[in-house]
């Protein structure tokens, strides 16, 4: 039998699943981001620390993400728009899922590419029409996957990746969000 390697340590994930079944408190994670306004609609968001496995954790490095809006929005375009970050999150999450599921099912991947398109009617955010929602009307992800597997197996991997995706869930299901002034 040939050993497949998509670079995902599935055994560690499966072990973690077993351990966390008996330790739900350790499974409570809090992901954090903090942002600072610069000027105009440009801001910088920093991500470094999070809480998990019962204690404070730190990423290997602090990462900064610039958010701005493009020139067609009369802005300076110092970074991608916040709603584009949702697409980054979705593509990253689904792709991670594809790799993990493929590894777990013994399927060698050669390449995985995802194109994500979100249709957005900006009349909502401009307040031009109160019947139009602020967020995406719909999002379409198209995968091109080259792997040692049948089309059916690849479809099953992608479907399973959605089923386990944190970002897919966060986008498709309502979440309770509180915004307050400290």
């Amino acid at each position: 039998m040939t050993t497949i390697d998509n670079g995902v340590n599935v055994q560690a994930l499966l072990d973690a699943r077993e351990v966390l079944k008996g330790a739900p408190e350790a499974a409570q994670f809090t992901w954090r981001a903090s942002s600072k306004w610069t000027r105009g609609v440009h801001s910088t968001t920093t991500i470094e620390k999070f809480f998990g496995l019962g204690q404070e954790q730190t990423h290997k490095a602090q990462t900064e993400y610039a958010s701005d809006h493009p020139a067609v929005f009369a802005a300076e375009d110092n970074g991608i728009t916040p709603i584009e970050y949702l697409l980054v999150g979705l593509a990253g999450c689904l792709t991670a899922g594809v790799a993990s599921v493929a590894q777990n099912r013994g399927i060698q991947l050669r390449s995985v590419e995802a194109t994500v398109e979100g249709n957005h009617d900006i009349r909502g955010i401009l307040g031009a029409d109160s019947d139009i929602r602020n967020g995406y009307n719909d999002i379409k992800v198209t995968f091109h996957i080259d792997a040692d597997a049948s089309k059916e197996e690849i479809e099953a991997i992608v479907a399973q990746s959605q089923k386990r995706s944190a970002v897919f869930d966060a986008l498709t299901n309502p979440t309770d969000v509180t915004v307050e002034v400290a």
Binding site: D138, A156, K163, F168, N173, P174
Partner: protein, 405 residues
């Protein structure tokens, strides 16, 4: 008042409890079968009028009681199932105590103490066969549904005539949800069906009942210790099937054809509106993939050379609504077909896991002399169906008898 002593008590006089009685009698183990109501109580009182078994008659056999009626390919109504279980009780000559509800079950030295409406019992062993579907499960946000909308569970639902005017939102697309949705839509109401993860099956595959394939190909014989993800397999919703003379398929495509509107899983109530998931396409594609894999497995088992019998993928609407104002009058009734759970409120033995499920190993509960029967995938995939009880009950009673020596 002194407690009555008996070797074994069976809790529940449905098909599972009576099957246990059958094997206990065969081994001359003295026992009583406690029944809160009448024999086959839930089939008499907790089912809607049009319900039929998902399994064809010829498969609906019990130990020592094969189907001998005129319609082997038909499907029994709930009333006929109650009749079958009645006959089974008579054939078994089961020592049933009807109208005797169990109120407490606790461990004693050398066995168990059972408190019932009819006094106390002491037993060396107990078989819990009180059913897997005693209490309808509804999500916590049901409490946030505005009071103008009537809420029913499958235990309350009887027929369309009982449901008032206005649209109906049926929640859940298992056998229960799709059957109730189809019946209400046919009665002239507009039905919206909220669909989460579900199991899709055609009623017939290659001119045979799909359950014939399950039975013949050995899918149902898969043991609990051979199943890859047992926890998940035990929680699987019942397949989208309905019994009837025409042997029709009742999947989401059939419902769409009838005019039922499909929406995603109902995720929350916010400001008086139901919010549905945008993940409908995913749960449908998972169900299609799993169905096709199962059917391909049948073909492989049959070494069929004929090409795969193609079944159209689930037709998901290009756009599903994500929000429904529950105060607008569009919906008069919500029917929660969101599953059931067993009722163990009387159980004072620490054998439930953190989710309230009975801890057992193929029916042998994690407390000496305590057994379970009639739960999903108790020992095999066929455990869920009437004809799955025979092997389970034989095994459990064998184990129980060995413990008495």
């Amino acid at each position: 008042m002194s407690a009555e002593r008996v070797t074994t008590v069976v809790v529940g006089a449905g098909h599972a409890g009576l099957a246990a009685s059958h094997f206990l009698t065969a081994r001359s183990i003295d026992h009583v079968v406690l029944e809160r109501g009448e024999v086959a109580n839930s089939w008499r009182r907790e089912r809607w009028e049009s319900l039929r078994l998902l399994t064809p008659n010829w498969l609906s056999r019990l130990p020592g009681l094969d189907y001998d009626g005129p319609d082997p390919d038909g499907y029994m109504t709930a009333g006929e199932v109650a009749g079958l279980i009645d006959r089974f009780a008579a054939v078994v000559a089961a020592p049933v105590r009807e109208q005797t509800a169990l109120t407490a079950l606790s461990r004693t030295e050398g066995g168990y103490r059972l408190s019932t409406g009819g006094g106390e019992l002491l037993a060396r062993s107990v078989v819990l066969a009180s059913g897997a579907c005693n209490v309808p499960v509804t999500p916590s946000f049901a409490a946030a549904v505005p009071s103008g909308v009537r809420q029913l569970t499958p235990f309350d639902y009887r027929s369309p005539a009982q449901v008032g005017e206005g649209g109906v939102l049926v929640v859940g697309a298992s056998a229960t949800g799709v059957q109730i949705a189809a019946e209400l839509q046919r009665s002239g109401r507009q039905v919206i069906l909220s669909v989460g993860e579900h199991v899709r099956l055609p009623r017939m595959y290659r001119d045979r009942d799909v359950l014939w394939w399950m039975d013949a190909s050995g899918v149902w014989d898969q043991r609990y210790d051979e199943v890859e993800d047992l926890d998940r397999a035990r929680r699987l919703p019942s397949p989208q099937l309905v019994g009837g003379a025409k042997r029709e398929t009742l999947d989401l495509n059939a419902l769409t054809e009838l005019g039922v509107e499909l929406v995603g899983r109902w995720a929350a109530v916010r400001d008086g509106a139901a919010l549905f998931s945008g993940g409908l396409r995913n749960v449908c594609s998972l169900a299609d993939l799993k169905m096709n894999r199962l059917l391909a497995g049948f073909d492989q088992w049959a070494s069929s050379s004929s090409s795969f019998e193609e079944i159209a993928p689930t037709l998901v609407p290009a756009r599903t609504r994500l929000k429904l104002d529950l105060g607008s009058g569009e919906i008069g009734t919500v029917i929660w077909a969101t599953g059931f759970r067993p009722d163990y409120r009387w159980l004072d033995v620490p054998v439930l896991d953190e989710k309230g499920r009975l801890r057992h190993e193929g029916g042998v509960v994690d407390s000496p002399g305590l057994y379970a029967l009639g739960l999903p995938l108790l020992r095999r995939r066929r455990s869920t169906f009437l004809n799955g009880i025979e092997d389970d009950a034989r095994y459990v009673v064998d184990h129980l008898a060995a413990g008495l020596v």
